[in-house]
Amino acid sequence: RMEASCLELALEGERLCKAGDCRAGVSFFEAAVQVGTEDLKTLSAIYSQLGNAYFYLHEYAKALEYHHHDLTLARTIGDLLGEAKASGNLGNTLKVLGNFEEAIVCCQRHLDISRELNDKVGEARALYNLGNVYHSKGKNVASAGTHDPGELPDDVKNALQKAANYYEENLTIVTELGDRAAQGRAFGNLGNTHYLLGNFRSAVLAHEQRLLIAKEFGDRSAERRAYSNLGNAYIFLGEFETASEYYKRTLQLARQLKDRAVEAQACYSLGNTYTLLQDYEKAIDYHLKHLVIAQELNDKIGEGRACWSLGNAYTALGNHDQAMHFAERHLEISREVGDRSGELTARLNLSDLQMVLGLSYSTNNSMMSESHVVDNNLNGTRPRVGRRHSMENMELMKLTPEKVQNWN
Protein backbone atom coordinates (compact mmCIF):
# COMPACT_ATOMS: atom_id res chain seq x y z
CA ARG A 1 0.00 0.00 0.00
CA MET A 2 2.58 2.46 1.19
CA GLU A 3 4.93 1.40 -1.57
CA ALA A 4 2.48 2.22 -4.28
CA SER A 5 1.59 5.56 -2.82
CA CYS A 6 5.24 6.56 -2.51
CA LEU A 7 5.73 5.60 -6.12
CA GLU A 8 2.61 7.42 -7.24
CA LEU A 9 3.64 10.57 -5.46
CA ALA A 10 7.10 10.36 -7.00
CA LEU A 11 5.68 9.77 -10.48
CA GLU A 12 3.50 12.84 -10.09
CA GLY A 13 6.58 14.78 -8.97
CA GLU A 14 8.41 13.65 -12.09
CA ARG A 15 5.49 14.64 -14.30
CA LEU A 16 5.31 18.11 -12.75
CA CYS A 17 9.05 18.71 -13.02
CA LYS A 18 9.03 17.60 -16.65
CA ALA A 19 6.18 20.03 -17.26
CA GLY A 20 8.40 22.76 -15.82
CA ASP A 21 6.66 23.18 -12.47
CA CYS A 22 9.54 22.33 -10.16
CA ARG A 23 7.95 23.97 -7.13
CA ALA A 24 4.92 21.67 -7.27
CA GLY A 25 7.16 18.73 -8.19
CA VAL A 26 9.19 19.29 -5.04
CA SER A 27 6.04 19.04 -2.88
CA PHE A 28 5.19 15.66 -4.34
CA PHE A 29 8.73 14.33 -4.02
CA GLU A 30 8.89 15.48 -0.41
CA ALA A 31 5.57 13.82 0.26
CA ALA A 32 6.94 10.66 -1.32
CA VAL A 33 9.96 10.81 0.98
CA GLN A 34 7.61 11.25 3.95
CA VAL A 35 5.68 8.13 2.98
CA GLY A 36 8.96 6.33 2.48
CA THR A 37 9.90 3.19 0.60
CA GLU A 38 11.89 0.06 1.24
CA ASP A 39 13.31 0.25 -2.25
CA LEU A 40 16.55 2.18 -2.01
CA LYS A 41 16.89 2.58 -5.75
CA THR A 42 13.55 4.35 -5.88
CA LEU A 43 14.53 6.51 -2.96
CA SER A 44 17.80 7.38 -4.67
CA ALA A 45 15.88 8.47 -7.77
CA ILE A 46 13.61 10.65 -5.63
CA TYR A 47 16.58 12.28 -3.87
CA SER A 48 18.30 12.90 -7.19
CA GLN A 49 15.25 14.59 -8.65
CA LEU A 50 14.69 16.63 -5.51
CA GLY A 51 18.29 17.78 -5.79
CA ASN A 52 17.84 18.77 -9.42
CA ALA A 53 14.53 20.51 -8.75
CA TYR A 54 16.11 22.59 -5.99
CA PHE A 55 19.06 23.31 -8.28
CA TYR A 56 16.73 24.72 -10.94
CA LEU A 57 14.94 26.71 -8.25
CA HIS A 58 18.36 28.16 -7.26
CA GLU A 59 18.08 26.70 -3.76
CA TYR A 60 21.59 25.29 -3.81
CA ALA A 61 21.96 24.40 -0.15
CA LYS A 62 18.95 22.09 -0.42
CA ALA A 63 20.17 20.75 -3.77
CA LEU A 64 23.46 19.92 -2.10
CA GLU A 65 21.74 18.12 0.73
CA TYR A 66 19.67 15.87 -1.55
CA HIS A 67 22.44 15.08 -4.01
CA HIS A 68 24.53 14.13 -1.03
CA HIS A 69 21.79 11.77 0.22
CA ASP A 70 21.62 10.32 -3.26
CA LEU A 71 25.37 9.74 -3.35
CA THR A 72 25.34 8.03 0.04
CA LEU A 73 22.49 5.74 -1.05
CA ALA A 74 24.07 4.89 -4.39
CA ARG A 75 27.26 3.84 -2.59
CA THR A 76 25.28 1.87 -0.01
CA ILE A 77 23.54 -0.23 -2.63
CA GLY A 78 26.65 -0.49 -4.79
CA ASP A 79 25.02 1.24 -7.74
CA LEU A 80 28.05 2.49 -9.65
CA LEU A 81 26.17 4.31 -12.40
CA GLY A 82 23.98 5.91 -9.77
CA GLU A 83 27.09 6.99 -7.87
CA ALA A 84 28.56 8.54 -11.01
CA LYS A 85 25.41 10.54 -11.64
CA ALA A 86 25.12 11.69 -8.04
CA SER A 87 28.78 12.73 -8.05
CA GLY A 88 28.27 14.79 -11.19
CA ASN A 89 25.21 16.55 -9.78
CA LEU A 90 26.98 17.17 -6.49
CA GLY A 91 29.93 18.60 -8.43
CA ASN A 92 27.73 21.00 -10.38
CA THR A 93 26.04 22.15 -7.19
CA LEU A 94 29.35 22.68 -5.36
CA LYS A 95 30.56 24.69 -8.34
CA VAL A 96 27.62 27.08 -8.11
CA LEU A 97 28.29 27.43 -4.38
CA GLY A 98 31.89 28.41 -5.18
CA ASN A 99 33.43 25.31 -3.61
CA PHE A 100 35.64 24.55 -6.59
CA GLU A 101 38.10 22.09 -5.09
CA GLU A 102 35.38 19.72 -3.87
CA ALA A 103 33.49 20.22 -7.11
CA ILE A 104 36.54 19.05 -9.03
CA VAL A 105 36.82 15.91 -6.87
CA CYS A 106 33.15 15.05 -7.48
CA CYS A 107 33.23 15.72 -11.23
CA GLN A 108 36.44 13.73 -11.52
CA ARG A 109 34.67 10.82 -9.78
CA HIS A 110 31.86 11.11 -12.33
CA LEU A 111 34.49 10.94 -15.06
CA ASP A 112 36.41 8.01 -13.56
CA ILE A 113 33.34 5.84 -13.06
CA SER A 114 32.03 6.64 -16.54
CA ARG A 115 35.34 5.50 -18.02
CA GLU A 116 35.34 2.42 -15.82
CA LEU A 117 31.85 1.54 -17.07
CA ASN A 118 32.89 2.39 -20.63
CA ASP A 119 30.01 4.87 -20.70
CA LYS A 120 30.92 7.35 -23.45
CA VAL A 121 27.88 9.55 -22.92
CA GLY A 122 28.60 9.84 -19.21
CA GLU A 123 32.27 10.49 -19.88
CA ALA A 124 31.44 13.35 -22.24
CA ARG A 125 29.03 14.89 -19.77
CA ALA A 126 31.56 14.65 -16.95
CA LEU A 127 34.18 16.36 -19.14
CA TYR A 128 31.74 19.21 -19.85
CA ASN A 129 31.03 19.58 -16.12
CA LEU A 130 34.76 19.64 -15.34
CA GLY A 131 35.26 22.30 -17.99
CA ASN A 132 32.51 24.35 -16.34
CA VAL A 133 34.05 24.00 -12.88
CA TYR A 134 37.50 25.14 -14.07
CA HIS A 135 35.93 27.97 -16.07
CA SER A 136 34.06 29.19 -12.99
CA LYS A 137 37.14 28.80 -10.85
CA GLY A 138 39.21 30.88 -13.26
CA LYS A 139 36.55 33.54 -13.66
CA ASN A 140 36.03 33.70 -9.92
CA VAL A 141 39.70 34.38 -9.16
CA ALA A 142 39.91 36.76 -12.10
CA SER A 143 36.98 38.87 -10.97
CA ALA A 144 38.82 39.63 -7.74
CA GLY A 145 41.14 41.83 -9.79
CA THR A 146 40.39 44.08 -12.70
CA HIS A 147 42.02 43.48 -16.00
CA ASP A 148 41.11 43.09 -19.62
CA PRO A 149 40.47 39.59 -20.83
CA GLY A 150 43.84 38.12 -21.72
CA GLU A 151 45.80 39.89 -18.98
CA LEU A 152 45.66 37.26 -16.29
CA PRO A 153 47.57 35.97 -13.31
CA ASP A 154 49.03 32.48 -13.73
CA ASP A 155 46.55 30.60 -11.53
CA VAL A 156 43.66 32.06 -13.47
CA LYS A 157 45.31 31.22 -16.76
CA ASN A 158 45.95 27.63 -15.61
CA ALA A 159 42.34 27.09 -14.57
CA LEU A 160 41.01 28.53 -17.82
CA GLN A 161 43.46 26.51 -19.90
CA LYS A 162 42.28 23.37 -18.10
CA ALA A 163 38.68 24.34 -18.85
CA ALA A 164 39.52 24.74 -22.54
CA ASN A 165 41.19 21.31 -22.57
CA TYR A 166 38.17 19.65 -20.98
CA TYR A 167 35.80 21.29 -23.45
CA GLU A 168 38.02 20.12 -26.31
CA GLU A 169 38.03 16.57 -24.94
CA ASN A 170 34.27 16.73 -24.59
CA LEU A 171 33.94 17.96 -28.16
CA THR A 172 35.98 15.04 -29.49
CA ILE A 173 33.58 12.56 -27.89
CA VAL A 174 30.28 14.30 -28.63
CA THR A 175 31.37 14.79 -32.23
CA GLU A 176 31.98 11.04 -32.47
CA LEU A 177 28.59 10.45 -30.88
CA GLY A 178 26.99 12.91 -33.29
CA ASP A 179 25.39 14.81 -30.41
CA ARG A 180 24.90 18.26 -31.92
CA ALA A 181 23.20 19.79 -28.88
CA ALA A 182 26.15 18.84 -26.69
CA GLN A 183 28.54 20.22 -29.31
CA GLY A 184 26.67 23.52 -29.21
CA ARG A 185 27.03 23.80 -25.45
CA ALA A 186 30.73 22.93 -25.53
CA PHE A 187 31.45 25.41 -28.33
CA GLY A 188 29.68 28.20 -26.47
CA ASN A 189 31.59 27.71 -23.22
CA LEU A 190 34.86 27.01 -25.05
CA GLY A 191 34.38 30.32 -26.86
CA ASN A 192 33.88 32.13 -23.56
CA THR A 193 36.98 30.46 -22.13
CA HIS A 194 39.10 31.55 -25.11
CA TYR A 195 37.66 35.02 -24.69
CA LEU A 196 38.82 35.20 -21.07
CA LEU A 197 42.22 33.84 -22.08
CA GLY A 198 42.45 36.63 -24.63
CA ASN A 199 42.34 34.28 -27.65
CA PHE A 200 39.72 36.39 -29.36
CA ARG A 201 40.09 34.81 -32.80
CA SER A 202 39.58 31.34 -31.33
CA ALA A 203 36.62 32.69 -29.37
CA VAL A 204 35.06 33.93 -32.61
CA LEU A 205 35.57 30.55 -34.29
CA ALA A 206 33.94 28.70 -31.40
CA HIS A 207 30.99 31.09 -31.15
CA GLU A 208 30.46 30.86 -34.91
CA GLN A 209 30.13 27.09 -34.52
CA ARG A 210 27.75 27.65 -31.62
CA LEU A 211 25.68 29.98 -33.77
CA LEU A 212 25.49 27.45 -36.58
CA ILE A 213 24.19 24.74 -34.24
CA ALA A 214 21.72 27.10 -32.57
CA LYS A 215 20.26 27.87 -36.00
CA GLU A 216 20.10 24.14 -36.81
CA PHE A 217 17.95 23.60 -33.75
CA GLY A 218 15.95 26.80 -34.17
CA ASP A 219 17.09 27.65 -30.64
CA ARG A 220 16.69 31.42 -30.59
CA SER A 221 17.95 31.88 -27.04
CA ALA A 222 21.19 30.11 -27.93
CA GLU A 223 21.38 32.11 -31.15
CA ARG A 224 21.05 35.33 -29.19
CA ARG A 225 23.74 34.22 -26.75
CA ALA A 226 26.10 33.49 -29.62
CA TYR A 227 25.52 36.93 -31.17
CA SER A 228 26.18 38.61 -27.85
CA ASN A 229 29.38 36.64 -27.26
CA LEU A 230 30.54 37.33 -30.83
CA GLY A 231 29.95 41.03 -30.25
CA ASN A 232 32.07 40.92 -27.10
CA ALA A 233 34.94 39.16 -28.88
CA TYR A 234 34.91 41.63 -31.79
CA ILE A 235 35.10 44.54 -29.33
CA PHE A 236 38.43 43.21 -28.10
CA LEU A 237 39.59 42.54 -31.65
CA GLY A 238 39.04 46.26 -32.17
CA GLU A 239 36.45 45.56 -34.88
CA PHE A 240 33.73 47.79 -33.49
CA GLU A 241 31.62 47.91 -36.64
CA THR A 242 31.35 44.11 -36.70
CA ALA A 243 30.62 44.09 -32.97
CA SER A 244 27.79 46.57 -33.48
CA GLU A 245 26.27 44.32 -36.16
CA TYR A 246 26.24 41.35 -33.77
CA TYR A 247 24.86 43.40 -30.90
CA LYS A 248 22.07 44.59 -33.20
CA ARG A 249 21.20 40.96 -33.91
CA THR A 250 21.21 40.36 -30.17
CA LEU A 251 18.84 43.27 -29.67
CA GLN A 252 16.53 42.05 -32.43
CA LEU A 253 16.25 38.61 -30.89
CA ALA A 254 15.90 39.96 -27.37
CA ARG A 255 12.89 41.93 -28.55
CA GLN A 256 11.45 38.89 -30.32
CA LEU A 257 11.95 36.81 -27.20
CA LYS A 258 10.38 39.60 -25.11
CA ASP A 259 13.24 39.56 -22.63
CA ARG A 260 13.55 43.09 -21.28
CA ALA A 261 16.67 42.52 -19.19
CA VAL A 262 18.51 41.07 -22.16
CA GLU A 263 17.20 43.88 -24.37
CA ALA A 264 18.60 46.40 -21.89
CA GLN A 265 21.97 44.67 -21.94
CA ALA A 266 22.04 44.75 -25.73
CA CYS A 267 21.25 48.48 -25.75
CA TYR A 268 24.02 49.08 -23.23
CA SER A 269 26.51 47.11 -25.32
CA LEU A 270 25.46 49.06 -28.41
CA GLY A 271 25.79 52.37 -26.58
CA ASN A 272 29.31 51.39 -25.57
CA THR A 273 30.19 50.22 -29.05
CA TYR A 274 29.05 53.48 -30.63
CA THR A 275 31.06 55.34 -28.01
CA LEU A 276 34.11 53.41 -29.18
CA LEU A 277 33.15 54.34 -32.75
CA GLN A 278 32.88 57.92 -31.48
CA ASP A 279 29.35 58.18 -32.83
CA TYR A 280 28.01 59.84 -29.69
CA GLU A 281 24.51 60.58 -30.98
CA LYS A 282 23.88 56.88 -31.56
CA ALA A 283 25.55 56.04 -28.26
CA ILE A 284 23.19 58.40 -26.45
CA ASP A 285 20.21 56.93 -28.26
CA TYR A 286 21.04 53.41 -27.05
CA HIS A 287 22.04 54.45 -23.56
CA LEU A 288 18.71 56.23 -23.19
CA LYS A 289 16.92 53.06 -24.30
CA HIS A 290 18.95 51.16 -21.73
CA LEU A 291 18.10 53.74 -19.07
CA VAL A 292 14.36 53.43 -19.69
CA ILE A 293 14.40 49.66 -19.30
CA ALA A 294 16.70 49.79 -16.26
CA GLN A 295 14.20 52.11 -14.58
CA GLU A 296 11.33 49.88 -15.63
CA LEU A 297 13.06 46.83 -14.13
CA ASN A 298 14.01 48.83 -11.05
CA ASP A 299 17.65 48.00 -11.72
CA LYS A 300 19.54 50.70 -9.83
CA ILE A 301 22.97 49.41 -10.82
CA GLY A 302 22.02 49.50 -14.49
CA GLU A 303 20.49 52.93 -14.10
CA GLY A 304 23.70 54.23 -12.54
CA ARG A 305 25.77 52.85 -15.38
CA ALA A 306 23.39 54.37 -17.91
CA CYS A 307 23.68 57.79 -16.28
CA TRP A 308 27.44 57.57 -16.14
CA SER A 309 27.60 56.55 -19.81
CA LEU A 310 25.19 59.30 -20.82
CA GLY A 311 27.17 61.88 -18.87
CA ASN A 312 30.29 60.88 -20.76
CA ALA A 313 28.62 60.89 -24.15
CA TYR A 314 27.08 64.33 -23.59
CA THR A 315 30.43 65.59 -22.39
CA ALA A 316 32.00 64.30 -25.57
CA LEU A 317 29.43 66.22 -27.57
CA GLY A 318 30.12 69.32 -25.51
CA ASN A 319 26.57 69.33 -24.15
CA HIS A 320 27.62 70.19 -20.64
CA ASP A 321 24.19 70.90 -19.24
CA GLN A 322 22.93 67.43 -20.07
CA ALA A 323 26.24 65.97 -18.94
CA MET A 324 25.79 67.75 -15.63
CA HIS A 325 22.26 66.44 -15.26
CA PHE A 326 23.35 62.82 -15.72
CA ALA A 327 26.46 63.21 -13.58
CA GLU A 328 24.21 64.42 -10.78
CA ARG A 329 21.86 61.46 -11.27
CA HIS A 330 24.87 59.15 -11.26
CA LEU A 331 26.01 60.62 -7.96
CA GLU A 332 22.54 60.24 -6.45
CA ILE A 333 22.25 56.62 -7.52
CA SER A 334 25.79 55.75 -6.43
CA ARG A 335 24.93 57.05 -2.98
CA GLU A 336 21.64 55.18 -3.00
CA VAL A 337 23.23 51.82 -3.79
CA GLY A 338 26.30 52.48 -1.65
CA ASP A 339 28.70 52.38 -4.59
CA ARG A 340 31.68 54.28 -3.19
CA SER A 341 33.84 54.22 -6.27
CA GLY A 342 30.90 55.26 -8.44
CA GLU A 343 30.30 58.12 -6.04
CA LEU A 344 33.93 59.20 -6.29
CA THR A 345 33.83 59.07 -10.07
CA ALA A 346 30.60 61.05 -10.14
CA ARG A 347 32.10 63.72 -7.88
CA LEU A 348 35.15 64.07 -10.08
CA ASN A 349 33.00 64.29 -13.18
CA LEU A 350 30.81 66.91 -11.57
CA SER A 351 33.68 69.05 -10.41
CA ASP A 352 35.25 68.86 -13.87
CA LEU A 353 31.98 69.87 -15.45
CA GLN A 354 31.51 72.68 -12.98
CA MET A 355 34.96 73.85 -13.82
CA VAL A 356 34.21 73.94 -17.53
CA LEU A 357 30.80 75.49 -17.04
CA GLY A 358 32.19 77.99 -14.57
CA LEU A 359 34.90 78.95 -17.00
CA SER A 360 32.50 79.14 -19.90
CA TYR A 361 30.11 81.36 -18.04
CA SER A 362 32.85 83.41 -16.51
CA THR A 363 33.61 86.80 -18.04
CA ASN A 364 37.03 86.70 -16.50
CA ASN A 365 39.72 84.97 -18.47
CA SER A 366 42.23 84.79 -15.72
CA MET A 367 42.95 81.63 -13.81
CA MET A 368 41.42 83.36 -10.81
CA SER A 369 37.97 82.63 -12.17
CA GLU A 370 38.52 79.04 -11.16
CA SER A 371 37.91 80.07 -7.60
CA HIS A 372 34.27 80.81 -8.43
CA VAL A 373 33.66 77.19 -9.16
CA VAL A 374 35.42 75.62 -6.28
CA ASP A 375 33.43 72.63 -5.13
CA ASN A 376 30.64 74.19 -3.14
CA ASN A 377 28.63 71.05 -2.69
CA LEU A 378 31.51 68.65 -3.05
CA ASN A 379 33.61 68.11 0.00
CA GLY A 380 35.75 65.43 -1.55
CA THR A 381 39.37 66.52 -1.76
CA ARG A 382 40.71 66.15 -5.25
CA PRO A 383 44.17 64.81 -5.67
CA ARG A 384 45.99 66.92 -8.29
CA VAL A 385 46.60 63.94 -10.48
CA GLY A 386 43.30 62.35 -9.59
CA ARG A 387 41.53 63.52 -12.68
CA ARG A 388 43.58 61.32 -14.95
CA HIS A 389 42.48 58.34 -12.93
CA SER A 390 38.84 59.13 -12.67
CA MET A 391 38.00 56.98 -15.65
CA GLU A 392 40.04 54.15 -14.26
CA ASN A 393 37.99 54.34 -11.11
CA MET A 394 35.09 53.09 -13.12
CA GLU A 395 36.77 49.73 -13.31
CA LEU A 396 35.66 49.30 -9.74
CA MET A 397 32.10 49.79 -10.82
CA LYS A 398 32.14 46.46 -12.55
CA LEU A 399 29.23 44.35 -11.49
CA THR A 400 29.82 41.85 -8.77
CA PRO A 401 28.54 38.32 -9.40
CA GLU A 402 25.49 38.82 -7.17
CA LYS A 403 24.55 41.91 -9.09
CA VAL A 404 25.06 40.18 -12.37
CA GLN A 405 22.54 37.58 -11.31
CA ASN A 406 20.00 40.31 -10.67
CA TRP A 407 20.86 41.80 -13.99
CA ASN A 408 20.38 38.62 -15.96
Binding site: D39, K41, S44, S48, D148, I235, F236, N312
Partner: protein, 63 residues
Protein backbone atom coordinates in the same frame (compact mmCIF):
# COMPACT_ATOMS: atom_id res chain seq x y z
CA UNK B 1 35.86 82.27 -27.48
CA UNK B 2 37.51 81.77 -24.16
CA UNK B 3 40.73 79.98 -24.73
CA UNK B 4 40.96 78.61 -21.25
CA UNK B 5 37.44 77.31 -21.11
CA UNK B 6 37.82 75.90 -24.57
CA UNK B 7 40.98 74.20 -23.53
CA UNK B 8 39.32 72.76 -20.44
CA UNK B 9 36.37 71.53 -22.43
CA UNK B 10 38.61 69.99 -25.04
CA UNK B 11 40.61 68.30 -22.35
CA UNK B 12 37.42 67.00 -20.82
CA UNK B 13 36.22 65.67 -24.13
CA UNK B 14 39.50 63.99 -24.90
CA UNK B 15 39.14 62.03 -21.68
CA UNK B 16 35.77 60.73 -22.64
CA UNK B 17 37.01 58.16 -25.09
CA UNK B 18 36.80 55.31 -22.60
CA UNK B 19 38.97 52.28 -22.42
CA UNK B 20 37.46 49.03 -23.57
CA UNK B 21 38.00 47.84 -20.03
CA UNK B 22 35.59 50.31 -18.55
CA UNK B 23 33.04 49.96 -21.25
CA UNK B 24 33.00 46.28 -21.16
CA UNK B 25 30.15 45.14 -19.00
CA UNK B 26 31.60 41.69 -18.69
CA UNK B 27 28.45 39.82 -19.45
CA UNK B 28 29.54 36.59 -21.00
CA UNK B 29 26.63 34.37 -21.80
CA UNK B 30 27.33 30.86 -20.61
CA UNK B 31 25.63 27.69 -21.78
CA UNK B 32 23.38 25.87 -19.31
CA UNK B 33 24.67 23.18 -16.96
CA UNK B 34 23.67 19.61 -17.59
CA UNK B 35 22.44 17.64 -14.59
CA UNK B 36 22.32 13.84 -14.52
CA UNK B 37 18.81 12.47 -14.21
CA UNK B 38 17.30 9.45 -12.53
CA UNK B 39 13.70 8.29 -12.63
CA UNK B 40 11.63 6.04 -10.40
CA UNK B 41 10.67 4.22 -13.58
CA UNK B 42 14.27 3.00 -13.78
CA UNK B 43 12.88 0.89 -11.00
CA UNK B 44 10.33 -0.73 -13.29
CA UNK B 45 13.03 -1.87 -15.65
CA UNK B 46 14.62 -3.51 -12.63
CA UNK B 47 11.40 -5.38 -11.97
CA UNK B 48 11.66 -7.25 -15.23
CA UNK B 49 14.88 -8.64 -13.92
CA UNK B 50 13.07 -10.17 -10.94
CA UNK B 51 13.20 -7.47 -8.35
CA UNK B 52 12.40 -8.09 -4.71
CA UNK B 53 9.52 -5.67 -4.61
CA UNK B 54 7.18 -7.79 -6.64
CA UNK B 55 4.16 -7.18 -4.46
CA UNK B 56 4.21 -3.52 -5.32
CA UNK B 57 4.01 -4.12 -9.05
CA UNK B 58 1.22 -6.57 -8.89
CA UNK B 59 -0.69 -3.79 -7.18
CA UNK B 60 0.31 -1.35 -9.90
CA UNK B 61 -0.72 -3.75 -12.63
CA UNK B 62 -4.16 -4.02 -11.05
CA UNK B 63 -4.66 -0.30 -11.45
Amino acid sequence: SQPLAGCQAAELQSKVVPSKQILHSDNMEMEPETMETKSVTDYFSKLHMGSLVYSCTSKRKNK
